[in-house]
């Protein structure tokens, strides 16, 4: 959780935004701390871009749609140029009629930075994003590759030394290798410059890699907000469990409380999960379980302290670094286990379709999920 001693840079209090009959954002609340790398993550149409645009000032909250605050000040009706922030756009939005240098200088000129200071700062910004100025400074944006444009857009946004930088899927158009490089560079810039980053993405891996905290959005609401490991390890709803990484879902009934654990009865047999408050014995429950936490052993074996269920291999998917073994449990449910690919020479592929085996997992690795909000 955020450190309670520092004042939040950004605060959304019950913010709603409606376009016609479409509710793009429904009463969301969150705070962002100074210097944080904060991601808004979700599928397209979940409201993450609208949230960023509300923060940038391109959109205004509904009349009774809560407050957007920057450094404690309500900015609902402030225009973007009154908010002292900067932004990298998904399409980069470089000015096609200006050279790379003039693009980068634009914000400095608009912010009335002394003329003598501008060339120096443009040069530094280009150095920071590692674009050689003598080679690229005079070029038109149309004469640049996607990666170079991305760097110019970043330089243009950073050169004004904003306390707050908004990024709207800035790596979406880059190829995988360049994207991975830029992810690390952005993270590094965030820490080195001490600028607060608010980052919109639909790529869960990207969000996990870069963020200090993530707000997972679904259906115009924040489904879960927390550090990457919190969200990955303890997804709150089926949506989050499915959207971040991969998950197995087991349907059952809470049969009993056994110490700090629930016993769950399913068609495949009983097992244990950590107990959660607010759930009564006898109620239905959905349990999420990550494939990489599931172990496979010969029938009847496996750690006796673990949950153990019998099953039959129905499908094996080769995925390079691991294998996904799909196991059918009694009652028909399918459980996927990720088995590390240890190489055929050292350990022959142990399982084949039709094998009987035992699946087992540590009771602490399962989670009782809340229902997705309607």
């Amino acid at each position: 959780m955020p450190d309670s001693t520092s004042r939040p840079v950004i605060e959304f209090r019950g913010v709603s935004k409606t376009f016609g009959a479409f509710k793009a954002v429904r009463s969301i609340d969150f705070q962002i701390e100074e210097g944080e790398f904060f991601s808004l993550l979700g599928p397209s149409g979940c409201g993450k871009t609208t949230t960023l645009r509300l923060l940038a000032g391109f959109e205004t909250p509904d009349p009774d749609g809560g407050e957007v605050r920057i450094r404690g000040q309500v900015v609902n009706d402030k225009r973007p140029y009154e908010r002292d922030l900067s932004m990298v756009f998904q399409s980069y939005a470089l000015f096609p009629h200006l050279s790379v240098e003039r693009n980068i200088a634009f914000g400095l000129e608009q912010r009335k930075v002394a003329k003598a200071e501008i060339p120096d700062r443009v040069a530094k910004a280009m150095e920071m994003v590692r674009l050689p100025q003598d080679q690229f400074g005079g070029r038109a944006p149309s004469a640049l590759s996607g990666g170079q444009r991305q760097r110019v857009a970043l330089a243009r946004a950073l050169v004004v030394e904003p306390p707050l930088l908004l990024l709207d899927e800035p790596l979406g158009a880059l190829d995988l290798k360049l994207r991975k490089e830029m992810q690390l560079e952005l993270k590094e810039l965030n820490k080195r410059l001490g600028i607060t980053f608010v980052y919109v993405t639909h790529d869960q891996e990207e969000a996990l890699t870069m963020s200090d905290r993530i707000a997972v959005m679904d259906n115009a609401r924040i489904a879960q907000l927390g550090r990457p490991e919190e969200i990955y390890e303890h997804p709150r709803t089926p949506f989050v469990a499915r959207f971040i990484g991969e998950s197995n879902f087991l349907e059952g009934r809470i049969a009993a409380v056994e110490g700090e654990l629930f016993r769950i009865d399913t068609a495949a047999g009983p097992f244990q999960v950590p107990a959660v408050s607010g759930r009564a014995v006898g109620g239905a429950a959905t349990i999420a379980l990550r494939p990489e936490r599931v172990q496979l052993s010969p029938p009847g074996q496996g750690d006796p302290a673990f949950n153990r269920l019998p099953g039959t291999v129905v499908h094996i998917v080769y995925r390079g670094e691991n294998l996904h073994v799909r196991v059918q449990l009694p009652g028909g449910a399918i459980l996927t286990a990720a088995a590390r690919n240890e190489g055929q020479l050292r350990v022959p592929l142990r399982w084949t379709v039709g094998d009987e085996l035992t699946v087992s997992w540590n009771p602490l690795d399962g989670h009782v999920l809340e229902d997705d909000p309607a």
């Binding site: 932004m87 399409s91 939005a93 050279s99 070029r139 038109a140 243009r156």
Partner: protein, 309 residues
């Protein structure tokens, strides 16, 4: 289709069909021939009805003038020299001033209109419709309508008189004002439409980027919107400047003899004066001027990134 009757497309060729097939076989698989085939009809039309008469006029402009308006043997450049007369240079100067003023007024009036239409809103289609609506009637009819509007007993003067705002009619018809009003009215849509098109294409995220980088509305307009709509401004200016330079109907009907423009001069030479060689020479002088102006304008515009025009 029964199997006994062969496909008509494969029938043994005879007569016209064979001829047609052999004709189209000539073009198969040769892109440059295909291109010529496509360009051909339009090009022939232009050669026949535009380049042909133009060459004929060029020829006439160097011929001696006969007594009865025909041309006679012998060549001369006297018609071109004759144009140096202050009388004709005066007409040319007035024409250039009128065309340029008309272009500037159209730009000043048309840009805001194009801006509002491009900004969208509920009335976008209605406004666009209104811009092109005048084209539904003949330009001649519309010019006569302006006469009824501006003459001494016209709508404006009778209204002002009956309201007691003026004691005697304001002389509007047959003044430079009337000609300019007519020209601007006639050519305004040619300014609005290209500017509208270039504003419409403007990526809204560029405006947002400008705003987030600190540009207030005026700066945003001057630094982003205006430069990026320059292709539309250039196209609109050419579309207004060139035809207003050559217009003769408007100055003829609204301006009277005192507001003669170069188009009226050419018309007079071909009709009442019966001096075809001089009319041709005057036409070519104007054409040369337009060409120089347009080429200079376009070269300045295409100077590369960073330039405003």
């Amino acid at each position: 289709m029964s199997s006994s009757s062969p496909s008509p497309f494969r029938a043994p060729a005879s007569g016209l069909v064979a001829l047609r097939r052999r004709f189209f076989a000539l073009f198969r698989g040769r892109p440059e021939t295909t291109a010529w085939t496509l360009v051909g009809p339009g090009l022939s039309w232009m050669l026949l009805f535009f380049i042909g008469p133009l060459l004929l006029m060029l020829f006439y402009s160097f011929k001696q003038r006969g007594v009865y308006g025909v041309v006679v043997d012998g060549y001369t450049i006297e018609h071109y020299l004759r144009f140096a007369d202050p009388l004709y240079l005066g007409i040319l100067w007035r024409t250039l001033k009128m065309a340029l003023s008309c272009t500037i007024i159209c730009l000043l009036l048309g840009y805001p209109v194009a801006y509002v239409i491009a900004a969208g809103g509920r009335f976008k289609n209605l406004l666009l419709f209104l811009v092109v609506l005048p084209f539904w009637t003949s330009f001649l009819v519309r010019t006569f309508a302006m006469i009824f509007l501006m003459r001494d007993t016209g709508l404006i003067n009778t209204t002002l008189l009956s309201l007691g705002l003026i004691d005697e009619p304001i002389a509007m018809l047959y003044t430079p004002f009337a000609v300019m009003a007519g020209l601007v009215y006639g050519f305004l849509p040619f300014m609005v439409l290209p500017i509208y098109t270039s504003l419409e294409k403007l990526d809204p995220s560029l405006l947002e980027a400008a705003e987030v980088l600190g540009a207030r509305p005026v700066a945003r307009f001057l630094r982003v919107t205006l430069p990026l709509s320059m292709p539309g401004v250039a196209a609109g200016s050419l579309l207004v400047f060139i035809p207003s330079l050559g217009s003769y109907l408007t100055p003829d009907l609204l301006g009277g003899a005192k507001q003669m423009m170069i188009g009226n001069l050419v018309q007079n030479q071909f009709t009442s004066a019966r001096n075809w060689p001089f009319g041709s020479a005057a036409s070519f002088i104007v054409m040369a001027l337009v060409l120089v102006a347009v080429v200079g304008f376009l070269r300045k515009r295409d100077a590369g990134p960073g330039s405003v025009l």
